[in-house]
Amino acid sequence: MEKNKEILLSLTSVFRIVFDDKNIKLDKNTSADDIEEWDSLNQIKIILACEKKFSVRLNPREVNGFENIGDMVDHLISIEAKT
């Protein structure tokens, strides 16, 4: 699905800026276990950056419940559908 790919690419650029790491590659299975510096502080930065990038409001409690990037992508698609 094209939408999936698009969102994944945007997320990747967000992560690359937050972690200042050009080599980060995301797929739907990536989780906090895969990126060393992904702690609660960076989680907040990611949430805020995503809100800006995708022009949405995210509920941090919900986001903290995601298992992996795939959940995040699905969530972003579903919010978009509603707007």
Partner: protein
């Protein structure tokens, strides 16, 4: 890969406007900086700084460290665990004292007030009691004054004694008045004003991460705090180097004359320059040394300072006055040597992108600010960077200014000419030869009538005369990578026998030092050859102002004919390469035969 990232980091470090970056980029660069700090070899002041607050400072530290570094301070920063501000200060064995800081910065907010019921004196005493251990250990203390809560209803509290607003105002006042010998207080009112309630009180952010201000506010807050601390640590900038044309007044005085520059209450632009000059004057009055670095004839610009009724800055306010046609980096070097300060305490301001890029390249330690837009905005463009913030102005500062009565002209200096030439050709300069099209008529006439410094004689053509002699009038437009300078040269010519006669040649002083006279020689030579002429001649009538023209024509091979004002060129002068691309428009094809 890594080299590119370091290169990007270095280029960001040279830009004093961290607060203008998109917050995500700012955070990324700050993060990169902290990671690579050890690789950057700079002999900066090293300090150990402990930050104490009851809110979460962790997002802000890297940016603060970055901004401090930009101001010449290599800070190792320690923050206590969230919510432990009081215990860390009171407990003499706490982590912050183990860290052995040189400085402690206490950052309370209105949420941390303790003695609302007992009043401001009790409040001040409470905070005073927190400094005891620091004083015993000889640690210098900074404390940020209290901010106000955002809700308007609290401002209108009927019982003014219990009003939180009153309490805060009085506490801040009491602290400053009676405790300044024990602690240096930092006033952040200007910061809060600039950020506004929206960014200073971000409740969502507070509940999300315990940071009371917005994420977006981090760069500006970091830069402000770093500037304030830098000022207190002796790193405030000391010297402001000013360009003149389009910086302190509108227009080029070399072209317009003292009475033609825009400075005065007749126009909004003129008012803008007056107001900017007043700001600069205020800086001077608080101890900042002023220097002038202008590409102009010295007596022309001195005349403005001395005789223009609307100048706010006086000639005597300038400690070092440099006006010549050398490149600005060389001149700034001389200013530095004369004033005997470090490059890192100098700030250079200019409206020209070319000048700023050159100085940034040659003197990276000088803080260069390119002024943009309206003169009404100039003061803020400088002030918001906090380069000159100092908590105290000493009599020493004021004395220092008077001691530099400098008005020695900077001697002719050996230019680093190869570097300069390379830089100028790197700007991809182009000349476009145009006929005087209707839109350019106004500008051409203005150049002919108003230019003083580069003009061969007083012969001018009116609008009608130009229109009637269109094919004998050239207008040259100058463009480079950074700017379109518009029409800067007008040449009126004719053919007399086998000779090409230059009736007049004017050039805007805006583009002196860009080697355009060499390109003009190439153009004239081509016209001459295409019309089978073997000589070019002109009449040069010296005036009090047109020495630059005299110098230029001699550089391109014109020699005086006996004892007259006629100068002749035999077309065999070897001129230095100007690296300017000349674009011929179709009209050039006309010059295939004599008129």
């Amino acid at each position: 890969m890594i080299k590119e990232e370091l290169k990007e980091l270095y280029s960001f470090l040279q830009n004093p406007a961290f607060l203008d970056l998109e917050v995500e980029k700012a955070m990324q660069i700050a993060k990169r900086f902290v990671k690579n700090k050890k690789k950057i070899k700079k002999n900066y002041k090293k300090i150990r700084l402990a930050l104490l607050s009851n809110f979460n400072l962790s997002f802000t530290i890297e940016s603060l460290e970055y901004c401090l570094f930009q101001r010449g301070i290599n800070a190792e920063i320690f923050i206590a665990d969230f919510g432990t501000m009081f215990t860390e200060l009171i407990n003499s064995n706490s982590w912050i004292y183990k860290f052995k800081p040189d400085y402690i910065l206490i950052w309370p907010t209105y949420r941390d007030l303790q003695e609302l019921s007992k009043g401001y004196k009790a409040e001040a005493l409470f905070w005073n009691s927190l400094w005891k251990n620091a004083k015993i250990n000889n640690i210098k203390i900074f404390q940020i004054l209290f901010d106000f809560p955002p809700f308007s209803i609290l401002r209108n509290s009927l019982n003014s004694n219990l009003s939180i607003m009153q309490h805060i105002k009085n506490t801040n006042s009491e602290l400053m008045q009676h405790y300044s010998n024990e602690c240096e207080f930092l006033n952040i009112e200007n910061l809060i004003m600039s950020l506004g309630t929206k960014n200073w009180h971000d409740f969502r952010m507070f509940h999300l991460s315990k940071q009371p201000y917005s994420f977006e506010g981090i760069p500006e807050i970091s830069q402000y705090l770093a500037s304030t601390l830098a000022g207190s640590l002796g790193n405030a900038k000391k010297v402001l180097i000013l360009d003149l044309d389009n910086t302190l007044w509108g227009g080029e005085v070399g072209d317009l004359g003292k009475d033609g520059i825009v400075l005065g209450n007749e126009t909004s632009e003129g008012e803008g320059y007056i107001s900017f000059q007043s700001y600069v004057k205020t800086l001077n009055q608080s101890g900042i040394i002023l220097a002038i670095c202008s590409k102009n004839e010295k007596n022309v610009v001195e005349d403005v300072f001395i005789n223009h009724p609307d100048m706010q800055i006086k000639y005597d306010d300038i400690s070092c006055f440099v006006a010549n046609f050398q490149d600005k980096a060389t001149n700034i070097k001389k200013i530095k040597q004369f004033l005997n300060v470090g490059y890192d305490s100098m700030v250079f301001i200019d409206d020209s992108e070319v000048e700023c890029q050159w100085v940034k390249k040659q003197l990276p330690e000088v803080t260069t600010i390119r002024l943009k837009g309206d003169p009404s905005d100039y003061a803020m463009q400088i002030d918001r960077l906090g380069l000159f913030i100092k908590n105290k102005i000493t009599t020493e500062d004021l004395k220092r200014i008077k001691s530099y009565k400098a008005l020695k002209e900077i001697e002719k200096v050996k230019k680093s000419s190869r570097k300069l030439e390379a830089f100028l050709s790197g700007l991809n300069p182009k000349i476009i030869i145009e006929e005087v099209y209707p839109y350019a008529l106004e500008r051409a006439v203005q150049l002919l009538y108003k230019t003083n410094q580069f003009k061969l004689n007083s012969t001018v053509y009116s609008k009608e005369e130009i229109i009637n002699n269109k094919s004998n009038v050239l207008a040259l437009r100058f463009v480079d990578r950074l700017n379109d300078y518009g029409i800067v040269v007008v040449i009126i010519f004719d053919f007399v026998g086998k000779k090409l006669k230059i009736i007049n040649w004017v050039m805007s002083c805006r583009v002196f030092s860009r080697n355009i006279e060499y390109a003009v020689y190439r153009i004239l030579k081509r016209i001459a050859i295409k019309s089978s002429c073997n000589k070019i001649f002109l009449e040069f009538v010296p005036s009090s102002k047109n020495t630059p023209a005299a110098k230029a024509i001699k550089k391109i091979g014109f020699k005086r004919v006996k004892k007259s004002n006629i100068f002749q060129n035999n077309l065999n002068c070897k001129v230095k390469p100007d690296n300017i691309v000349i674009k011929n428009t179709e009209m050039f094809g006309r010059y295939n035969g004599k008129k």
